[in-house]
Subunit: 461 residues, 2 copies
């Protein structure tokens, strides 16, 4: 009963202070902290400074810490003897193009009434500024009501998550003593499809590659050279067409080494979620799952590896027509990985496959992007059960253990470098349009997200 009354007052404070919490989030969302584009470097730092100032205002010992890339924000509540909890989020956001498809400017957030309730619309609303602020508001309410937090906390907020986190692993290594905690809490995932609270216990890995194929030393006229000179776009499309066969099976030798089948228990749990792939696709104007037809929809997005072409460009792409043989063509591709697939080995295999397909008169250049294996959590740790109960209480329905098709390499990095497990809890929804125009975060996700963390802090404290 003491615990119940302690948390009750925190929750009612969160409810009462929601308008102010939203104002803070809006201020944060107005900073265009696009980490992948060097033009936004100053804005990324401004977001770090803003966050650091917020945390200092809450009584944290916080600082912006330089890296060779974008900075980290690190904060400590108090330094006690106990093994603290670490909270991780990221303050950088995805690029916004195509800009013309946004209904409001991506960095001018607004609260919008929709048939499904109020939403916060802006780049980063869901991924990950809105989620990150659910932590901060939960901390604030605990401090307001009780003067201190129920656990010692270490906070680590990075600014390179959307660009492959190049500085993260060195930073974890160099600051291992300071950052090591009992468990990491990561808020960068979602509710299950129908709004059911969930703890994500497995994530796909990611390995990306930009490929540049070059042929002649200039663009050529297809009238003068067509039929005789190598066309780098043709070379590129030929090789990209051979990575997957028509059944969605990836043809690189040894690619499936380390891919694991689901346990019977998890297979049954996932089946109980009642996922309908066609219904899921219909929300984005599609009907028909492509790929490995022998797999269930959830297996395909959570437990099977994929190859995707994320971008391609070459030759004349403007208005009208230009009968050119271009000097170069480029593609950005990525693999999602599962089980213990080794991203570095797959990178070597993929590069060799491309090199073998490039004719004598062409050259190929690779620019690697990320190389993180998949993660799978040990859910026998009692903290998982405690957090699951806290989530079930807040949302008034049974929380689920789920997978995620996206890649949050930080969980693997925490395990490997700091020896600690991660608990992935988030409040995003499938229709949040993260990485797309018109990203949004449900107001309910934000409000109940903060309440959820307040409860989890109490449960693990």
């Amino acid at each position: 009963m003491t615990d119940n009354s302690r948390i009750g007052e925190v929750l009612s404070t969160l409810d009462k202070e929601l308008p102010q919490a939203l104002d803070r989030l809006m201020e944060f969302l107005r900073i265009p902290s696009v980490s992948t584009d060097p033009a936004y470097r100053g804005e990324v730092r401004r977001a770090a400074d803003w966050l650091c100032a917020e945390l200092i205002g809450l009584g944290f010992e916080a600082s912006v810490r330089d890296t060779p890339g974008h900075p980290m924000v690190v904060a400590h509540s108090q330094r006690g003897d106990r093994r603290p909890l670490l909270f991780y989020g990221h303050y950088d956001v995805q690029p916004v193009d195509p800009l013309e498809l946004w209904q409001n400017p991506p960095f001018e957030p607004l609260i919008e009434d929709t048939p499904q309730g109020k939403v916060i619309r802006a780049r980063g609303a869901s991924d990950d500024k809105g989620q990150l602020m659910t932590f901060v508001e939960a901390f604030r309410a605990w401090k307001t009501v009780h003067g201190r937090l129920p656990s010692d906390l270490v906070l680590l907020f990075e600014g390179e998550e959307e660009s492959g986190s190049p500085s993260l692993r060195p930073f974890l290594r160099e600051n291992a003593e300071e950052l090591r905690a009992g468990m990491a809490m990561i808020c960068d995932t979602g509710l299950y499809a129908d709004g059911r609270p969930a703890i994500t216990t497995q994530l796909r890995g990611l390995y990306g590659e930009e490929i540049v194929i070059r042929a002649a030393d200039r663009d050529l006229h297809s009238g003068s050279f067509g039929g005789l000179a190598a066309n780098p776009i043709q070379v590129l499309v030929n090789v990209l067409s051979t990575v997957k066969d028509s059944s969605g099976h990836i043809t690189l030798p040894g690619f499936y080494d380390g891919v694991e089948e689901l346990s019977d228990a998890l297979r049954a749990d996932w089946a109980a979620l009642g996922f309908d792939a066609s219904e899921f696709l219909s929300r984005v104007g599609l009907k028909q799952p492509i790929g490995e037809q022998s797999r269930t929809g959830l297996e395909m997005v959570w437990n099977r590896p994929t190859f995707e072409i994320n971008g391609i460009t070459g030759g004349y792409t403007g208005e009208g027509f230009k009968t050119v043989l271009p000097a170069e063509a480029r593609a950005k591709v990525s693999f999602r990985l599962t089980g213990t697939q080794d991203p570095k080995r797959i990178r070597d295999t993929f590069r060799a496959h491309v090199r073998a397909a490039v004719p004598q008169d062409c050259t190929v250049e690779f620019h690697g992007h990320g190389a993180s294996p998949a993660s799978r959590m040990d859910i026998s740790d009692p903290a998982f059960a405690a957090a699951k109960t806290a989530l079930s209480d807040e949302w008034d329905r049974e929380a689920a253990y789920i997978g995620a098709g996206g890649s949050i390499p930080i969980a693997g990095d925490f395990k490997e470098i700091l020896g600690m497990d991660s608990m992935l809890i988030g409040f995003g929804r499938d229709d949040d349009r993260i990485h797309s125009p018109n990203e949004k975060y449900d107001l309910q996700s934000f409000a109940k997200g903060a309440r959820s963390w307040a409860r989890i802090l109490a449960a693990l404290g």
Copy 2:
């Protein structure tokens, strides 16, 4: 001797007035008349107006004639009873991108000293403003010296050649009586590789197509949808990889219907030109002819059809990385045609081939561009021999009958609509970088080009 003295004075006038002729060409080149890009519509008209004013200044009855697209410039020397000669050129130019590869701004022409002699560097210098002005300067010199031209002339200068000439055929039909002439002179081709004067007697046809593949109604995150949702870039590269096999053979059913083998006579003539494909490619940083290895290099570029991807775009192509499944992907492709290949039949076959490869959840949209068959001239007409002699006299070496890999559909249109043959004579060179950054036209081409036309006028007059 009378003829010789008549032409002698014209040629010496051309030599003396070359600086003024260059000033006029520079003024013309400064007008960015890019016909494929609607943003330049006003500039295209400005080029037409400039040209019309020049011709009126020379005593032509000239006017700018509206079409649904860019205007035509039409002019008459005098209206006599004789069958006049028609002169055709185009005053529009190719787009200039990638702009950053130009050493001087493309519409700020300059005369440059190079190891191979002086060149005029600007977009359109060779294709086709410089060539068009060789006509105009030849007319001017004849008028200056003799007060009148040796033949009645009709001039037709269009502004849509680089964008598929959509208005040309209707214009020819509507103005057939006014435009019909004994023979058309077209200046939009080149000297043979080593600077040998040449009359082009066959041209490849062209059929182009922009393909747009669409899947989801928005860009998707490859973490959430990868493996399940159709990726339009993958669909596009898969289909584009199937049009040509590894030996360069185009796989569309019936594609080679109408392709003609060379006559023995022409095969021998072309062999005598001593074309070395590897040497030709080495000038643009390449070594190895691709495509049909059983064909000679000249056959491949002059007498064999091709398929080329001229542009491709889809997904994220900016700095850094974005793990997106895009909503759409686009490509611009073109076929060069020979013999009596039917562009409309090939269009139907190609579109059917693409449609058959597009999965259920995707749509495809086509935007056709040009559909002109190949052209082959009847060189038994004595005017060909007369022009060949005039060219041989001017350049002091035997002129050759050659082919061209590019497409000048106007020759076919003149034949079909006005019932007249065309004589294709031009002074461009293979290293003119037409359609590429840093286009140039040799000063010698310009000066001797005008002299050549002055002689041809005398020979045919």
